[in-house]
């Protein structure tokens, strides 16, 4: 059989390999390091865990290294309920926030997609505008707004909704406010992208066939925007599960989302193996939604062809 071989220059090979090389360098290598640490044991040393791979000891060093790896980090994860509770808390916060984000974000995206064409780039820019300010600064700003003598209570008091100034900070409500505010663009943009692509004549066709406008939303607009809904939800849900800054700054120390528990193990307890085990378990937990998102993206790409 005559196999036609495509001859590639070294330059072309590099271009083809570059993305994989980058992935290897910036994603796989760090992950392998974290994975390795999760199988280690704490030690009062630098770095604060054993074993450390010593290539100078040759074959003997390598076998020693593998024999001293342990599952202690994971055992601890399973034995102490605080970790399970942290995971559950994170999933709950992510699920509730994603639901709120969808309810808040859909009308915004819908309104944007329906506004005059000339206005739309401006609206998209307004949605993206907050990114021009550091995320951290924006969360700090929320501390200001939510604190006892902050803007929110000023307004509520002025409107006569509350009689005394309630405490907002260090509560789940504060976490939800912060999360919904911070992730709103990630919900609005994919929704807008699908709604904006939708053919206006489909709604006219629905009307023509006897379907009033309001009903057409449920029969045509919503089903057609489901890929955007799924993309937006996953794009918010996945990072919210691992969110650290918002619960730490707004939710107080007792809110115990998994990101905070991890931070505590890492920096307060200096237990790197358990912290790494938490990270690995979190990744496994998020693998399902990540794969789901991946599949969705692929299907959409195929749909475009």
């Amino acid at each position: 059989m005559n196999t036609a071989r495509i001859r590639r220059s070294w330059g072309q090979r590099f271009v083809l390999l570059a993305p994989y090389l980058w992935l290897l360098l910036f994603f796989l290598a760090p992950f392998v390091i974290v994975l390795k640490i999760s199988f280690s044991q704490t030690a009062i040393a630098l770095p604060p865990y054993v074993p450390v791979l010593d290539l100078a000891a040759g074959w003997q060093g390598l076998t020693d290294f593998f024999q001293r790896l342990s599952l202690d980090g994971y055992r601890l994860l399973a034995s102490d309920p605080i970790y399970l509770l942290s995971y559950l808390k994170s999933l709950k916060v992510a699920a509730v926030s994603t639901a709120i984000l969808l309810i808040v974000g859909y009308p915004i995206a819908y309104g944007m997609a329906r506004s005059p064409r000339a206005l739309q780039p401006l609206l998209v820019m307004l949605v993206v505008l907050p990114f021009w300010t550091s995320f951290l600064i924006r969360v700090y700003a929320w501390i200001n707004i939510l604190q006892r003598d902050g803007l929110l209570n000023d307004v509520l008091l002025a409107l006569g909704i509350v009689g005394t100034r309630p405490e907002w900070l260090a509560s789940d409500t504060a976490i939800y406010i912060g999360v919904v505010y911070s992730y709103l663009p990630f919900m609005v943009l994919p929704l807008y992208a699908t709604l904006e692509k939708m053919d206006e004549s489909l709604l006219e066709a629905a009307a023509d066939l006897g379907c009033p406008r309001g009903k057409a939303f449920w029969l045509v607009t919503l089903p057609l925007s489901l890929p955007g809904v799924a993309a937006g939800c996953l794009l918010c849900f996945i990072p919210i599960v691992g969110e650290f800054v918002i619960p730490d700054l707004l939710g107080g120390s007792h809110s115990l989302m998994i990101g905070q528990t991890l931070w505590m193990e890492f920096f307060a307890n200096r237990d790197w193996p358990v912290a790494s085990a938490i990270a690995v378990a979190l990744l496994l937990l998020l693998l399902l939604p990540i794969l789901l998102y991946e599949r969705l993206q692929r299907r959409q790409l195929e749909g475009l062809r």
Partner: protein, 365 residues
Amino acid sequence: MAASGGTGAEGGKPALVRFERVTKRFGGVTAVDALTLDVAQGEFFALLGPSGCGKTTLLRLLAGFEQPTEGRILLDGEDIGGVPPHRRPINMMFQNYALFPHLTVEGNVGFGLRQENVGRRERAERIAEMLALVKLQGFGARRISQLSGGQRQRVALARSLIKRPRVLLLDEPMAALDKKLRGETQFELMELQRRLGTTFVIVTHDQEEAMIVASRIAVMNEGRLAQMGPPAEIYERPNSRWIADFIGEVTLIEGRLAGEGMLQTSLGPLRIAGGGAPGDKRWLALRPEKLQMSAEKPAADGRNALSGTVTEIGYRGDTSIYKVRLADRTLMKIALANTVGRPPFVVDDLVWAAWAPEAGVLLQD
């Protein structure tokens, strides 16, 4: 129902649809300008015109997607001005088909019946009936993305017919099909219309298509009615130079009437059928297929004869269009059938063009 006048429906049949001095303005642009026309029950009516002439706006007014700025639209003698699209017994087949991509063929075709809460069994029956009508049996479970352009067109047709509308609107229904398929579909559409007896109103910019499918054509230009009548009438007896030029090919010769049966032109006196007050300005419109061409000067048999030079030959398969430059540099278009043998004339040949006086049409405007 008032009797129809000059713009009235065919053969005195009562008008099913009536536009009464309908004007539609978008901002400062007048898309439809005080237009009056009737469409009779059971007609295959075509709205023809160049792009931007207002024909699509007229269709959308009828469907209810636009509201007239002035005037009334009557269906069966009743003003449907305030009736929203979803309550009109009128269905439309959209130019891009506007099929719902998230539904199957069945879901699309049955969409209209679902809105009327037709029972599941009856719905299934009527969907099957419609799919058979457009020759798509067995395609019910397919997704729209799995269909070819021609199949999509049929789904759109079935979807717009299933509610048995009083009027079916077709917006450039064949624009997306290739020429061969378009030809077949035109005849299928005509047969379908005859079988169902439904009133069809088609919008097209393709004059050939309009002449093939329609029983009556309204030619529009700049929001107004330029001429209305059966296809043959519009082609054979255009009422203006614009119509003569828009529908088919034509050669126009300017002149002044000189007594009965004579037109004085820069090419000399020409014999014409009919006449009028001497000195009045007229244009003689000549269709390419009504002219004869010869190498020798034709015998003086009552026909007009002019000499010229062949400057261009446009080969069209069955016929060729010869452009002949006459003495006053007018380019005359003559069509000759490509019969057996080599083409009779080549570029730069000196030829004679001849035609009977009644072959030409005199135009005032």
